[in-house]
Symmetry: C2
Subunit: 232 residues, 2 copies
DNA sequence: TAGTGGTCTAGACCACCGC
DNA sequence: CGGTGGTCTAGACCACTAA
């Protein structure tokens, strides 16, 4: 009742603490915004912002008329950063080196057309690249770029900087779909990543769209022992 | 100038569109909130909310006095859901089955103490579990639970439901750190997951804290071919 | 239909920080 | 110092939806 706390962060944290302490157990109903505003001695908009953040976080569910309820089965979300290879390497205080292995223009094979959704005759730029950290293999990158989506790519010199950095400068703020999996090193990967054939490797695939049109599909295979980290 | 659009979502989307169309290229400065409010014919608070969402998304950077700037190197974030095993299996329309393989109480080994930060004499509950989808191996779970953090765990029957679901009911809204990697199946894993020794497997480790104290460390190894999916 | 959250407003004061 | 975003207020109207 008329506490001295007022900022939306105080309210957010206080409510969170009450939920964690089971003062408001999972599944229970919180007081209305008006009631909380009264208790905290602030405007309803301030309470609204606090509760909205908790809702975005997945801690509570809000519905008009029914009120704000503590989420019983919290859908936990983890956020991880999609770093450019160069950055991840440099953050390890390692020297980054890039090498373009292969560059060809082909018509999109059937599996790629199905995968990213381009037309039959679509021309794509197919690239193989290697990324090194302190001269040790870090990532093998195999990429296909939809030339129709970014025609300039044909004239870009990709021998010095990787395609990802150029693409980011061309189509920032794109959408993507990622999958991660474990695979066994085949002949090519074992050579480029310097591991025995059959070695377990962490592989990530990403399809990227810009304003609805597919731009690129990339398959990134990391050195043995690579770990992806994240928190929540 | 004095457009008819007014909602913060309209403003957010319009600004985003201008950024994508390079009307405001990466690195450039946006008009001030007051100017935008004037253009859109709305209150400054509305513009503030729109720009704040774009800032949370990582699209723009905001600084007092300097203004709002289009992020040149967008730190892309991907969000993936931390699902309970049962849910992931059931979402595949497969029948879920759980089995407790082993349950022992031990004093925390040195590597675990270092890993999660508990005292030398700490007692932990060590569990091995299997999760099946349509009677095919889905995930092998090896878990250590800090008994001091959740004393009740000693008396809980974990033969029917997995420890994760019980823990979630006890300490919802905890913090965690995750790592994902690819490993080769050893003897135990090859037996439980029914794969050849040396098969590449996707493994995720998670350490969980509740209000600052370590609760559990779990190592989850998935069936061969498992893919983790995410979008942004 | 009535109760709840969702949003907007016009104004205000403050905190930060580049100049 | 002054300009910019960060936040709060008191009030208003609207949109959804459970009863």
């Amino acid at each position: 009742m008329t506490q001295k706390k007022s900022s939306f962060q105080d309210i957010r944290d206080t409510v969170m603490a009450r939920i964690q302490s089971r003062h408001w157990p999972p599944g229970s109903l919180l007081p209305t915004e008006v009631e909380l505003a009264e208790e905290f001695g602030c405007a309803r908009a301030t309470v609204n912002r606090a509760l909205r953040e908790l809702a975005d976080q997945g801690v509570v569910d809000r519905k008009r008329k029914s009120g704000t309820r503590v989420n019983a089965a919290p859908v936990k979300q983890a956020v991880f950063e999609i770093a450019v290879v160069r950055q991840s390497v440099e953050e390890m205080n390692a020297a980054y080196r890039y090498s373009l292995v292969k560059r060809t223009v082909i018509t999109a094979p059937a599996w790629l057309r199905a995968r990213i959704g381009v037309k039959d005759e679509a021309q794509v730029l197919h690239l193989n690249c290697m990324h090194y950290a302190d001269n040790r293999p870090f990532q093998f990158e195999e990429r296909w770029i939809n030339i129709a989506a970014v025609p300039d790519v044909i004239d870009v010199d990709l021998s010095e900087t990787g395609p990802n950095e150029w693409l980011l400068s061309q189509v920032p703020f794109s959408n993507a779909e990622l999958t991660s999996t474990a695979i066994a090193a085949g002949e090519t990967l074992s050579e480029f990543l310097d591991v025995p054939q059959g070695a377990p490797l962490f592989q990530m695939e990403r399809t990227t769209w810009f304003q609805g049109t597919p731009v690129t599909f990339v398959r990134m295979t990391f050195h043995q022992g690579y770990q992806m980290r994240t928190r929540y």
